[in-house]
């Protein structure tokens, strides 16, 4: 994943115009708790890089003006695929599954 807004989970806030330094930092710290550097070094690197790209208003404007990085497949998928809460499968679906052992 490359898009810093997606990595930090701030895309919707960006559209609403509610991304500020505090929001970026809060998102970063939240992810840091989920992916501590000692346990998830690769995740941490990605999160850190995203944070450094967006941590100040000046950097966010610079990103909007000059960044030409294209998203990868993960970026595209995470934006386009509907993010819905999980639901339990139907009884019929389960029957289909168990009938195909």
């Amino acid at each position: 994943m490359k898009d810093p807004y997606l990595i930090l989970g701030l895309l919707e806030q960006k559209t609403n115009g509610t991304v500020d330094d505090a929001a970026v930092k809060a998102a970063y710290l939240q992810l840091l708790r989920r992916y501590p550097p000692e346990r998830e070094p690769l995740h941490f690197q990605r999160i850190r890089k995203a944070y450094e790209q967006l941590e100040t208003r000046q950097k966010r404007v610079r990103y909007a003006l000059f960044d030409l990085t294209l998203p990868d497949r993960q970026d595209v998928a995470s934006v386009l695929l509907p993010q819905k809460p999980l639901s339990r499968p139907s009884f019929k679906s389960v029957q289909n599954l168990l009938g195909r052992v």
Binding site: L70, L81, L86, G99, V101
Partner: protein
């Protein structure tokens, strides 16, 4: 004789004739089994049976052959054939209850067969088959299954509660009620895995980290695994699950999509597109795919993101040919672009196509101006498609300025450097008008003015910067530097106090403050304000800092005492000299330099110094130690102000020049040369480098120092440098080699073109007249240098005079020596010799006549 020869797929002959013994057939069967050629093995074994040689051993081999073959068939999707083949193995005594076989029966829907077998097998094996029947019962694929079983069979007794549990779970019953239902399924029930799966699902909603551990309790061969796998997949986020989806069977995939709520037809199409998209999709592919998606119903944040990506992808695909047609292609996807979007795209196109800075600046200037205009033009500025939000327009304008400034600075070396720097500073200043919060940019602009000695601009900019950032130490430090540069030492002290108020332990500023007091004291002495000078020196003395400053304070106090007539109260200059040389161990030349330095700064006439100093002249017998000690002291002074050392250095340049003859080691010499270069002492540098070059001929660095400041390079200097570069390269001195390379790059090769006029179309008399002595002398020097020149340079020289084809032939036939010899003759102005030599070489090497440049025949 009757026998059959068959050839299997692998081309191996199968001999099953009656003349082959049972032992041989068995050996062949075993070999076929080891090679997983089960079909072949079966044939061999059948032949043994036909010979009447059946035994328990052969039976086991037959079981192995049939089961292996059955597995091969199942792997090819031929489940029914696999079942039949397996059953042959059963007829040869294989155990009925094998999970593979049972699984195929379920897969093929052969439940009556399964039930029939269930009744036949032992109670122990029944336990193994029960979960399979339980799963099948729940799947509803054999409605009569439960009825056909005995009343007390666990599959039958457990069916009711299990089905209710499953229906309740699928129907969305709450966790508490589900838990109650689960209690109705005992630990030994064939439905226990269903209970475990539902338990895991509850964990997925409440404690996802424990889901995997919970699912681990289900046996890998359990018929409930497909449902367990759904829970495993459900814990992955959408991106992690994506690669797994394509590998699932249709029923499993449909179930997972249902769990994730991806049931719309649009999502199915999207998933297919995503599955074929590479991990790092190329710009054109992204443009095409996202362009198709953009037209569908999308949430605002998704639409905004897509629009930005589509524009980038379009730009990176078609930036090279951004004609109207391509823009239309983009607008076909995104709808009409706003004016601001178009200008932004034009700016990015200019970056991508790497156009020059002038055009780049013009293009971005349009975008910059648009941002500024749109701050007040609300109608356009609120267009949600614009790349920059309304609140960020000014900042965006500032960012454009900073970006362009960085570009001008990056490419300064490729163009008029001063123009590039001035342009960059102007852009940065403009950016500060829109965004005065950037302290770094303020500092850069001020530093630029300081470096270029534009003190008024530096001061004005600093005042403006301090309005926005009154307590920023970096800016206040710049204030000290500006004040010191303008001799406003009191002001410098004020800035230093402000810093100490913010950061009381800032040692750098303490030093700055002391320097400011010392400088102010010098100024007061120069203006003969003795009382004020004493006061400043006392102030300076309160700040303990460097040993050099302590020494300076002592020297200034001694001078001031002498000038103020207070010799009785203070140490004399001579006493200070002795104390510094004897007690502090500073070399007399170094101490004398400090005296000269301070004497000049306080305006002490040069004739007065020997009077007040009254000590032996340390420059008369200046040794190596004296020179090296002096350099260290000068370095310390330079760290405060590089300008002030120039005058005292000039006053001792004569003894320093003489000292060049002292026998310095190579490392000492290199240090000294580098120092003279830094301090801009060109004459001293040449004097030292010349002596050191002779003393250390294998050190190419001294050749570099000798010529580094030369305005023009003579042919011999050029040639020396070329040799030095080669030498440095061979010695692995990458740094010096590249420094020489850069030096050579700054100068034209004095040898190239030197002889061009000789090729002009005029007769020999004119040529002789024009061939002046200077060139002749240079050529003679070149001839001397020729043996030392790398062959590459010799070859270049030869090509300047002789047809390339001829030189190549001479080189090929007679080697490098002949080419060197030829160049020798050319440079020695031996015209007959050159002609004859070429003729001789060519006649030896080339029987056919080779055409030469007519002009070369007229060279001499």
């Amino acid at each position: 004789m009757s026998h059959r020869n068959k050839r299997n797929k692998a081309g191996q002959a199968i001999t099953t004739g009656v003349n082959v013994s049972a032992d041989q057939l068995e050996a062949q069967a075993r070999q076929a089994l080891s090679q997983e050629q089960y079909k072949v093995a079966v044939q061999h074994l059948k032949a043994i049976v036909k010979q009447g040689e059946m035994s328990a051993r052969i039976n086991v081999l037959l079981q192995e052959a049939y089961t292996g073959r059955a597995e091969q068939l199942a792997a090819q999707g031929m489940i029914k054939e696999a079942i039949v083949t397996w059953e042959v193995a059963i007829s040869h005594g294989l155990d009925l209850a094998d999970p593979r076989y049972l699984g195929w029966l379920v897969q093929a829907g052969q439940y009556p067969r399964l039930l029939a077998m269930y009744r036949k097998i032992s109670a122990e094996n029944r336990q193994f088959l029960q979960p399979i029947l339980a799963a099948a019962a729940l799947a509803g694929v054999a409605p009569l299954l439960t009825v056909s079983l005995p009343d007390d069979d666990p599959v039958r007794t457990g069916y009711g509660p299990a089905r209710q549990l499953l229906e309740a779970w699928c129907g969305g019953e709450d966790d508490e009620q589900l838990r109650e239902r689960m209690q109705a399924i005992p630990f030994r029930s064939p439905y226990r895995d269903l209970r475990q799966i539902i338990q895991s699902w509850i964990l997925l909603e409440t404690n996802p980290d424990q889901v995997l551990d919970s699912l681990e309790r289900i046996a890998p061969a359990s018929p409930f695994q497909p449902l367990a796998e759904q829970v495993r997949l459900a814990r992955l986020d959408a991106l992690e699950a994506l690669p797994h989806l394509s590998a699932l069977l249709p029923a499993a995939r449909a179930c997972q999509l249902e769990i994730r709520g991806w049931v719309e037809s649009g999502v199915t199409i999207l998933l297919k597109k995503l599955e074929t998209l590479p991990d790092e999709p190329p710009a054109d592919k992204l443009f095409s795919m996202l362009g198709q998606v953009y037209s569908s119903q999308l949430l605002p944040h998704v639409r905004g993101w897509l629009r930005a990506v589509i524009k980038k992808a379009w730009l990176l695909s078609y930036a090279g040919h951004s004609s109207q047609r391509y823009l239309q292609q983009l607008e076909k996807v995104t709808g009409q672009l706003s004016q601001e979007e178009k200008l932004h795209l034009a700016g990015l196109t200019a970056i991508v196509t790497k156009i020059d800075n002038w055009n780049l600046s013009d293009i971005w200037a349009d975008c910059h101006d648009r941002f500024l205009v749109s701050v007040t033009d609300a109608a356009d500025a609120t267009n949600k498609n614009n790349p920059i939000d309304l609140a960020d327009r000014l900042l965006a304008a500032a960012e454009i300025g900073r970006y362009l400034a960085a570009r001008w600075q990056q490419h300064a070396a490729d163009m008029d450097e001063d123009h590039a720097r001035v342009t960059a500073i102007k852009l940065l200043q403009q950016s500060l008008q829109h965004d005065p919060e950037d302290q770094v940019v303020w500092a850069r602009v001020i530093e630029y003015y300081l470096e270029t000695k534009m003190l008024v601009d530096a001061r004005d900019t600093l005042q403006e910067a301090l309005v926005h950032h009154p307590d920023v130490i970096a800016l206040l430090e710049l204030g000290i530097r500006i004040a010191v540069a303008g001799n406003a030492f009191k002001k410098a002290a004020t800035y230093a106090s402000r810093i100490l108020a913010v950061d009381p332990i800032n040692t750098r500023v303490r030093r700055h403050l002391q320097n400011a007091h010392i400088a102010h004291a010098r100024k007061q002495i120069k203006q003969k304000k003795w009382h004020l000078a004493w006061k400043e020196l006392a102030e300076a003395g309160q700040w303990k800092s460097t040993p050099l400053n302590d020494t300076i304070l002592q020297v200034l106090q001694a001078f001031l005492a002498h000038l103020d007539g207070k010799n009785e109260d203070r140490d004399s200059v001579k006493a200070i000299f002795q104390r510094l040389t004897n007690e502090k161990g500073i070399h007399p030349a170094g101490v004398d330099f400090i005296f000269r330095h301070e004497g000049i700064l306080i305006g002490l006439p040069s004739r007065v110094l020997p009077e007040v100093a009254d000590y032996d002249d340390p420059w008369k017998k200046l040794g190596k130690e004296g020179v090296l000690a002096l350099v260290e002291i000068v370095r310390q002074f330079m760290s405060v102000n590089p300008e002030t050392v120039l005058a005292p250095l000039a006053s001792v340049s004569s003894p320093l020049k003489k000292a060049a003859r002292l026998k310095f080691s190579a490392s000492e010499g290199e240090r000294l040369c580098e120092f003279w270069l830094q301090v801009g002492q060109k004459q001293l540098l040449v004097a030292y480098a010349t002596v050191l070059q002779k003393a250390w001929p294998d050190k190419p660095v001294f050749t570099y120092y000798r010529f580094v400041n030369a305005e023009h390079l003579s042919p011999s200097a050029y040639s020396d440098l070329v040799c030095a570069r080669e030498k440095a390269h061979k010695q692995g001195g990458v740094g010096i080699s590249s420094r020489i390379e850069a030096l050579l790059h700054r100068h034209d090769n004095p040898m190239s073109g030197m002889f061009d006029h000789l090729f002009d179309d005029h007769d020999e008399d004119d040529f002789d007249a024009e061939f002046d002595d200077e060139i002749r002398a240079d050529m003679a020097k070149m001839a001397d240098l020729l043996p030392r020149l790398p062959f590459k340079e010799v070859l270049n020289l030869a090509h300047s005079f002789i047809e390339r084809q001829i030189v190549s032939r001479i080189l090929k036939k007679h080697g490098e020596a002949a080419v060197r010899e030829l160049c020798q003759k050319i440079l020695r102005d031996d015209r007959n010799g050159v002609d004859e030599y070429i003729d001789q070489l060519l006649s030896e090497s080339q029987p056919k006549e080779v055409k030469r440049k007519p002009v070369q025949g007229r060279l001499f």
